[in-house]
Symmetry: C2
Subunit: 436 residues, 2 copies
């Protein structure tokens, strides 16, 4: 007997054969999927009518800075360095753990309401973020953002902070909370720092979440300092490997794409952020053609400004088409893969999440298709990529628990989360106004 049965839905499995069941069911026992398909006859404690709804794996936001929800809309339409140096960084200097908790709760709420069940985060006060993840009932792969800035003392304390997070939080909350090491980038961390991170990641058997080649400026800085472009530099020092989750990967040569493939690096495409900061367009069609399982992420809310993976999917499909002047580039099916199974692969969780298959964790969405923008209904995958928005998600299940039902989030007090986030953000801005 199952705990939950999702009955008579349009099941998009994202399994190896990308099977779709037009009128199928998904059964859940405990935290795992126990049956998927047309002929699921199990009885269950809770039966959810999925007719008129798409049933799909929860989306995986493979790169964000969750607590930056607090800086959403605080500054837009500015040159990148002016934005960072005059706005984002000065405000961040006053961050406290309680702020990051409030921002993370807001982010978890927004992600649940838009159908994200797992995210990869890199930021500060990550124990507070872990507390929010545990409470909200979402799945998170957390890393402390290590920024060294040529200071060996700072390196030591930063590595300790990264290690502390891994030791304290990895595998907690029934395994919903996992960790990585989070060296910020090759222009903010020395080769020594990066290689110490690599050793630590090996020791703790966790991944590494970093940024690679986001902007032309970064490529120039790294090339000037190390005589090589970022990917070449990171490869030369022996840093790259299948455990490396690489945000952005915008400015890559053909040679660098080959290196990423050979080393098994996992790039994360963040089209909205790349567009908003005017960083450039990642060579996604080339990476996919090379067999690299590119994932998808929103980046932080300060540069997006949403955490809506459905919105991100539409941008991923369209940006790459216009950039190549090729309407066949990155079709809808490939985009849905980026947002689900590729995200799981990127986080090393392909045996646990990313598709609806027996034995996998039950991270499942119901998307309500009975809306004007989904009519006529022929190709559900096309609709999910080109028409769906986060608010079309009706029900969200994470780790076998229903965390949202008919758009009501069951794990947190929504009003309280909004209020406390607004307060925390206001406090940060007041500090910043006072000191500048």
């Amino acid at each position: 007997m199952a705990d939950i049965l999702l009955r008579d839905g349009y099941i998009i499995t994202m399994d190896a054969q990308r099977r779709v069941f037009k009128l199928g069911s998904v059964a859940i026992e405990g935290d795992r999927i126990s049956a998927v398909g047309k002929e699921v006859r199990e009885r269950a404690d809770v039966v959810i009518d999925a007719s008129g709804k798409a049933v799909l794996p929860g989306t995986i936001n493979a790169h964000t800075h969750l607590s930056m929800t607090l800086l959403r809309g605080v500054a837009d339409d500015m040159p990148l360095m002016e934005w960072l140096e005059n706005k984002i960084w000065p405000i961040e200097r006053n961050l406290k753990g309680q702020d990051c908790y409030a921002g993370a709760m807001l982010g978890c709420l927004e992600m649940i309401k838009s159908g994200t069940t797992c995210f990869a985060d890199q930021y500060f006060f990550m124990k507070d973020v872990a507390n929010a993840v545990e409470e909200a009932g979402i799945r998170g792969v957390l890393s402390y953002g290590i920024i060294e800035r040529d200071d060996p003392e700072r390196r030591k304390s930063e590595l300790q902070a990264g290690e502390k997070l891994v030791k304290e939080c990895h595998g907690t909350a029934n395994g919903r909370i996992l960790t990585m090491f989070g060296p910020h980038a090759s222009y903010t961390c020395s080769p020594e720092c990066l290689m110490q991170v690599k050793e630590l990641a090996k020791k703790y058997k966790v991944g590494i979440h970093t940024h690679i080649s986001e902007s032309q400026d970064e490529v120039e800085r790294v090339t000037k300092k190390y005589g090589r472009r970022p990917v070449e530099h990171l490869d030369a020092i022996g840093f790259l490997g299948p455990e490396v989750l690489a945000a952005h990967c915008v400015w890559l040569t053909e040679q660098e794409i080959s290196i990423l493939r050979e080393r098994g690096v996992k790039p994360v495409h963040s089209p909205v952020s790349n567009m908003k900061t005017a960083s450039g367009v990642a060579p996604v069609p080339e990476m996919l053609a090379a067999g690299i399982p590119v994932a998808l992420g929103t980046d932080g809310a300060a540069s997006n400004n949403a955490l809506d993976m459905f919105n991100e999917m539409k941008f991923a499909a369209l940006l790459n088409k216009v950039h190549k002047l090729d309407p066949t580039a990155v079709p809808a099916q490939a985009v849905l893969e980026m947002a689900t199974i590729n995200g799981a692969i990127a986080l090393g969780l392909q045996d646990e999440i990313g598709s609806l298959e027996v034995g996998k964790k039950a991270d499942v969405l119901l998307v309500d298709l009975k809306k004007p923008h989904f009519v006529p209904l022929y190709n559900v995958v096309s609709h999910l990529v080109y028409n769906a928005v986060g608010s079309d998600v009706d029900t969200v299940i994470v780790d076998g628990e229903v965390v949202m039902r008919e758009r009501e989030v069951l794990t947190v007090d929504e009003d309280k989360v909004l209020e406390e986030a607004q307060k925390a953000s206001g406090g940060l801005l007041a500090c910043w106004e006072a000191i500048r």
Copy 2:
């Protein structure tokens, strides 16, 4: 005494000074706005609490083909000509008036639910579209799509069809339905045809809705045939003027931008469609810098695939940034202008709609700001452009009538509209399957 009072909202007027009232009100008498501001003390029959909501002019979708909602998601990710010749055009050949009515009702419903109060349409069976517009309670500027294809007989019947629409429908439904002439483009209509349209438009004092320089292929065809690029060609024959609403305007030289400005042509930017068909990126920053009031439109649902102007705004802001590698390009305020007051200017309706000002038609939206993706709340314009989606619209007023209240559309039976559109679309596809 007012009929409707929207009280204590965050009022974004989009008037000449772009005034914003953080806690203001809007009063409506009959079909027009009777008061706007902080100190509105009028009594009203219906008082709507707008606290926690943004109150703004309805968005104006300045270019679409409404009934193409029936072809939404039928074919994606295909080369443009293959898509048109093997899918869209063969299916369209079987279109009947009742199909266009069903598709237009679906489109009106989708637009109302996403906060569009006025749209400019170019398609076929436009009397049926007018019926849908009248019923749904939205405002529409309708044109019959004139396609000549070097056939003088066809030219004559097409011009008659265009003239018939103008005669029958212009100014009907309390003025909610207006008309234009709709010559498709300079590669599908001869100079003779275009100049006859211009004469007719002058005679009936209506505008002209056409497509200009959507794709490189179009530029090549026109240049080959007439020895000039599209804008130069249209200027040389004397076609261009302030009454011309020009969809797309993607491939323009500096010289062509100057011509558009000098002639007062009204370009409509459709970023999503241009991206999906991989047509290219319009020089929006250059046109805005030249003082051209660029408007915004979704194009038809077959190439978008939504009719959501909030979604379109985010794309407009971001596409132009990444294309120029300039994060300051097309800031949020400029985008909101494109979607409201510029749309009104483009349709020659700047004295009637596009802003919240005393004496203008009451086309007004309430957007619910009490949602995770609008927290923290500092810059409402930024949030509307970078975070809002159509489903955040709570209430819609058109011509002084409440057509949607708390997301319930009051003018049409939503279930029936969805059902009939699905049926009409199914019929079209069945015809097409049978004949190919």
